[in-house]
């Protein structure tokens, strides 16, 4: 009885979560595009990645498969490396710019 309720609840919750996460990504995309500063974009991009992990997790439940876990992990790793890289870049680039001025 409880299990049945649970599974039907999950059936309802899952699409809701999907949509919520998707909307949340849209919001972040807006931030990426609008900025106004590059660190803002970096933050938003980083968060998009985090949300993507969430989305993939949801899809893993949806499909009942563990084959997507690689994707989750990979996003995590890439995101970290990517964000560090971008941050380093933003920092360095401007220092060089300063010298140029």
């Amino acid at each position: 009885m409880l299990d049945e309720f649970g599974s039907s609840m999950l059936e309802l919750v899952l699409p809701i979560c999907f949509i919520v996460v998707a909307i949340s990504i849209v919001i972040l995309v807006y931030r990426v595009i609008v900025g106004p500063t590059n660190p803002d974009r970096a933050v938003a991009l980083d968060s998009i990645g985090i949300n993507m992990m969430a989305l993939v997790g949801l899809q893993a439940i949806n499909l009942g498969t563990d084959k997507l876990n690689d994707v989750v992990l990979l996003i995590g790793i890439l995101l970290f490396i990517g964000t560090i890289a971008i941050a380093k870049f933003l920092e360095k680039g401007v220092i060089i710019d300063r010298y140029n001025r």
Partner: protein
């Protein structure tokens, strides 16, 4: 029963995720946005992934170490990323919100 736990985890996760995004959307400057990103969003994804882990473990019978690792990884890296970005932002001269009260760092640099 387990499905209910999963559902709750998912809902919480989704809620935090959305909140984080809203924070990033609404907060006035990059530093405050970083607060939202490193906290709410991270917690959100941890919740959802935990939900996925539980679901796969109980309903499908798969122990997904990678998911756990993923959660762990996010928790570890999110603040580092946040730190890096904020430092980059500050060093590249991104201005604080006009209502910001104190800036000790500014004095330090001068």
């Amino acid at each position: 029963m387990i499905d209910i736990i999963v559902s709750v985890l998912l809902l919480l996760g989704a809620f935090f995720t959305l909140s984080g995004s809203l924070g990033i959307l609404r907060f006035p400057d990059v530093y405050s946005r970083l607060h939202a990103a490193t906290k709410a969003a991270t917690l959100g994804v941890a919740g959802i992934l935990l939900g996925a882990f539980v679901y796969l473990f109980v309903d499908v019978g798969i122990v997904s170490g990678k998911l756990l690792l993923g959660i762990f990884f996010v928790l570890i890296t999110a603040p580092i990323s946040g730190h890096m970005i904020s430092r980059a932002a500050y060093n590249s001269g991104v201005e604080l919100w006009h209502q910001t009260k104190k800036d000790h760092l500014k004095n330090e640099l001068k």
